[in-house]
Amino acid sequence: MNHMPVVRFERAAKKVGKRTIVHDLSFDIAAGEVFGFLGPNGAGKTTTVRMMVGLIKISRGDIFIKGHSITKSFKQAIRHVGAIVENPDLYNYLTGYQNLKHYARMVPGVTSDRIEEIAETVGLTGRLHDKTKTYSLGMRQRLGIAQALLHRPSLLILDEPTNGLDPAGIHELRGYLKRLAREEDVAVFVSSHLLSEMESMCDRAGVLQNGKLIRIEKVNDLVRGGDKKLVCLTLDPAQAQQARNLMTASNYEVRSEERPGELRIPLRPDEIPAVSQMLMQAGIRIYGIQMREPSLEDKFLEWTEEKK
């Protein structure tokens, strides 16, 4: 039983009408793991989260939380889940404390000490008795996390939690999630369309595109995997368009310029000499060639290109 995953997806799919929004998802998340769920807007992340917490019906397959089917034994399954779905929507006319009290009343065994404790953890103690309509977005996120953790869940689900957080807030969230996973053995499921944030937050990540899980790997492998590196060529800006045309004609993929005269091209290292020779023969003056370790963003673009 010790190795039972906290979450198990068994070919879970969602259809609306004839359209399949999420295709058969099958994967596990273990206790103590921070799992990133990546995908561009409209990929089906929120739909997946809604299936996990029983807000929408699962069209086919099932999702198990600590062995309990969310469809067949909702109460036993949801008992172990804390979540924010999309925005941290709160009762604006209640105070922070009343909001927490409200959710505390809905599960057995949450004392008022626990409410104080969790408010302290997320750093809301000072404003706890203010109406939440006076809260900033960051404070709403904190209160959202507090309500999700109130009953000490085994699974924490956060849907795009970094939306509206400043870099300091994101850094703090990252540390907090890691601590939750390491110290309290909570499984954390975080969705995001911002891959850079996932890179440092997650242990493992799944990549969702058009409702299909196209990759699922350890984040380190995701970042390092593949043999193409992103090569950054610095040229005379006046010649950039000419160079781009040349490269495209030779079937290389050229990314948009970040700065004038800076082309970014995914290349295998052994392709670099041939490319530089081709450009020099065309009379293009190269000021620099740099090889970059691709970020998750770059990888993501790469995968989606592959799929097309």
């Binding site: 807000l55 929408i56 909702f74 779905v85 999309e86 929507d89 009343q98 409200h102 809905m106």
Partner: protein, 311 residues
Amino acid sequence: MIGLIANESMKIYSRRLTWILLLLLLGITIGASVLGNVNSARAADWRTETEQLVRQYEDRLRIAELSPTLRADAENKLKIANYRLANDVPAPDPDPWTALLSFSGLIETVIVFAIIVGADIVAGEYTAGTMKLLLIRPHSRAAILFSKYIAVLLFAAAMLALLLLCGYAANVLFYGWGDLRATDLFLNGQGQVVQSTVSMQVLKMYGLSLFPIAAYVTFAFAVSTILRSGALAIGISLLIMIVGNSMIEATAKIEGLKYLPFANSDMSLYIFHLPARPEMTLNFSIAVLSAYIAALLLLSWIVFQQRDVSF
């Protein structure tokens, strides 16, 4: 379930709108009491006055095109006035209880306010996005839905109690404490003149009005649950209420209409022996309203249970 109802009540009473409604109700009740007091002049000699009333009712009954309700009302009053003269029973002095009996119209205010709260309690959570966090707790959707329903009913009952209490208190200022055991003449279900305790009739009328209040609240609640729009639920419910009041007359002519809730929604009609149709009884009205309440609740529950909550 108690925890859920406590939550829903906390949400109702934490909103400013709720307190505005309660204050309005308070104001309207006191206003009605003052007006009632101004209009109740005592005649020196009750006999001459009652004889005058008898002539007045007889005149009214001679009008050919009198509506059935007004005719029944005049007949009832005539019957009681004649009984007073024949048996030497003067009408009692006005006191808080007789005043409360004349306030039956204020129950409609309670209905309107209860509709406003009942129309928002489900739809409001969809609009605010809080429904998601509410539904991902270890409770069945039925428990979530019905805790809201019960909280609204409790709120409506609290408003009714407030109306009764404040109405009584305001009238105490004008008439003194009144006599709990004072009696007056009423007509029973068979149309016979009987002597009943006024305070008991008051409690009966307000107590029975819980049924129509519940019926309208259930309607607003069901529309709000199904359409997820509080404004629409209020609009439709108030429309039904207005149309419903004018349906009472129509019910007198068309028998089938007695199975609609409208002619069954005014319990004071039974206190004053004015049923929309002679064969309609208090129990019949309660049964009809209960059937509608049950059907609306069933429908709300099915929709709420099945619904994908995707925004």
